[in-house]
């Protein structure tokens, strides 16, 4: 791992609805690295994602989160986003009256604090949508309203590529997607890795989406703790053996 860590999670304990889910998570992600977090269902993987983003329902009982050399444990969600953390949602909100295009533009303006140059913006949006093989008419459709599961996911990846965060947390991105969509989303992630040189934390329990990606580190989480870290080959091991051996403890 590089010396300058982008993200440093130190001994994190997180509660949700008075239930203790994370029991001392330690994780470091360097710049430009791609990490995969795997584990059986219900072990706290999504919880980690939400806690990193700062969802108020997830209470940090102990531990710290450091991002770009700053302690962001107490920071509000929108500040973390502006600092460069992105979380993709499994079931993103529908917002009638607000187009996909104007939503992303608003987000960009909040991030940069400046008005966005309309022409440049629209060109970039068009290009990115093409890359993801998204129908251009979706730009003027209300955000997520009437979008199929696959289209919602694409819209999330579109936002990822437009917002260019330093750290992208993708939660079970390939759950419920058809083969074509999986390919597209992978293409999106690849584009992100290339153009933004950002870091990725991909949370998943299935590995289809990782097939065409270069993975630097793989972590296995069981019962709210990361119990094993390895390189890309760990993914193959898990593919073959499953999580069985971790669960008996």
């Amino acid at each position: 791992m590089s010396d300058k860590q982008l993200l440093d999670v130190k001994d994190l304990y997180v509660d949700v609805e008075e239930k203790s889910i994370l029991h001392g998570v330690n994780l470091s992600i360097g710049e430009g690295e791609t990490h995969v977090l795997m584990g059986p269902n219900g072990t706290g993987k999504s919880t980690l994602g939400y806690a990193l983003m700062g969802n108020p329902k997830y209470h940090i009982q102990n531990g710290e989160i450091w991002f770009q050399g700053k302690n962001i444990t107490e920071e509000p969600v929108n500040e973390r986003a502006k600092a460069g953390i992105f979380l993709s949602f499994q079931n993103p909100l529908e917002v009638p009256g607000v187009t996909l295009s104007s939503f992303i533009r608003n987000a960009l303006e909040q991030k940069t604090g400046k008005r966005v140059k309309l022409w440049d913006y629209k060109k970039e949006l068009e290009k990115t949508m093409e890359l993801l093989q998204m129908d251009p008419s979706y730009a003027e459709r209300d955000l997520n309203v009437g979008f199929s599961g696959g289209e919602k996911k694409k819209a999330e990846i579109l936002q990822l590529l437009m917002l260019k965060p330093a750290l992208a947390i993708l939660d079970e991105t390939d759950s419920g997607l058809d083969v074509d969509a999986v390919r597209t989303v992978s293409a999106g992630i690849e584009a992100y890795q290339k153009t933004c040189k950002g870091s990725l934390l991909i949370i998943t329990h299935s590995t289809k989406i990782l097939e065409s990606l270069s993975v630097d580190y793989t972590h296995v989480m069981v019962e709210g703790k990361i119990i094993q870290t390895g390189d890309a080959s760990l993914v193959d091991v898990i593919n073959e053996e499953g999580f069985g051996k971790y669960e008996t403890e």
Partner: protein, 354 residues
């Protein structure tokens, strides 16, 4: 004793506890109002058959009759028939003197199809009060669309009173954008007399500063297989006050009818007053009635999603408010009116439709 001209308007067909102060509204307007300015662009003028017109009951109710004495004699009438199918008639209403009033009667013949856009611009001071009554008679299988844009200035009061009777398979649609700064008293009553008739009402509003928005919607399902759909979406800021009364009444005999009403209010001001009373009255077994209301600030999940994209709560609220207006804006479908609305929205809130 001093003559206090208190006019009772916007009464609930079915009263409830008085302490709630929602049963009706008292207006202390002097009933001697001048005739307002009405500019009508397009449309076929018609004689108003007083008997037919007067039979159409309105949302504000007969309590408001004293306000319309002048225009009872000299109101305007528009005819929609086979010769002007699909026409859009634009009506611009302006206040005059301190208080003024006007009436419009729309007669839609069988199979007619007409859109009437009524715009209420800010007007010039000292014009303080304006009362306007629109009555619609939609004959069998006709289609009447009424679009109203309210842009009244701060410190003014506007009473908008609508009444409609739908005959068999007639279709009545109302779209209201309440985007002015003045107080609005809004009464809408629709009687779905003919079998198969239906009414769609969509209202969007923004209440700010000390604005008062007082609404009374009544839909009477009389015929069989009648349908009503009411959607009211708005935002209240600062110390704005709003009362929404929405009554869907399934009269005996209105079998196989459906009525649905939804109200969403986003509360953004610390001192707002929001009163809501969605009523369903039913005397018929084979009907489906429903209503839903959601009142309050943006919920946690919504706020979290916006925040995760770097958008703080305040900006999220702005975006949601604009979103509500946008949904209605798209339904206008008349370029001239769209421009007007865009300008007004830009004026009344920071708005940019790029």
């Amino acid at each position: 004793m001093e003559q206090r001209d208190e006019i009772m308007i916007n009464a609930l067909p079915s009263k409830t506890w008085h302490w709630l102060r929602m049963n009706e509204t008292a207006l202390s307007w002097k009933p001697d109002l001048a005739l307002c300015q009405t500019m009508i662009e397009g449309g076929k003028p018609t004689e108003i058959l007083k008997e037919t017109a007067q039979k159409i009951e309105t949302g504000a109710g007969s309590g408001a009759d004293p306000l319309f004495r002048e225009s009872e004699e000299e109101g305007y009438g528009i005819l929609a028939d086979q010769t002007n199918l699909g026409e859009t008639v634009r009506v611009i209403i302006g206040n005059r003197e301190e208080g003024s009033e006007g009436s419009l009667y729309i007669q839609a013949e069988k199979h007619a199809d007409i859109t009437v856009v009524e715009t209420f611009p800010a007007g010039e001071m000292p014009a303080k009060r304006l009362a306007y009554r629109t009555r619609v008679h939609a004959e069998a299988e006709s289609r009447v669309r009424l679009v109203q844009v309210f842009m009244q200035g701060e410190g003014t009061e506007l009473l908008n009173d609508i009444g409609c009777v739908c005959e068999q398979d007639a279709h009545f649609e109302i779209l209201q954008m309440v985007i002015g700064r003045g107080d609005l008293y809004n009464g809408i009553r629709t009687d779905l007399k003919g079998d198969g008739s239906d009414v769609q009402i969509a209202i969007g509003y923004l209440g700010q500063k000390k604005q008062l928005l007082d609404m009374n919607l009544v839909v009477n399902h009389l015929g069989k297989k009648t349908n009503s759909f009411i959607q009211v979406d708005g935002t209240l800021k600062d110390v704005a006050q709003k009362i929404f009364r929405g009554t869907i009444d399934f009269k005996n005999g209105s079998s196989e009818s459906k009525g649905a009403e939804t109200e969403n209010v986003l509360l953004l001001g610390d001192d707002v007053v929001n009163k809501t009373i969605p009523v369903i009255l039913c005397a018929e077994e084979d009907v489906e009635g429903s209503h839903g209301a959601t009142i309050g600030e943006l919920d946690e999940d919504t706020l979290f999603y916006f925040a995760s994209r770097g958008i703080c709560a305040e900006v999220a609220e702005e975006i949601m408010t604009k979103g509500k207006m946008e949904v209605l804006y798209r339904k206008i479908q008349d370029a001239a009116t769209e421009t007007l609305v865009e300008q007004q929205l830009a004026e009344v809130m920071e708005y940019d439709r790029a």
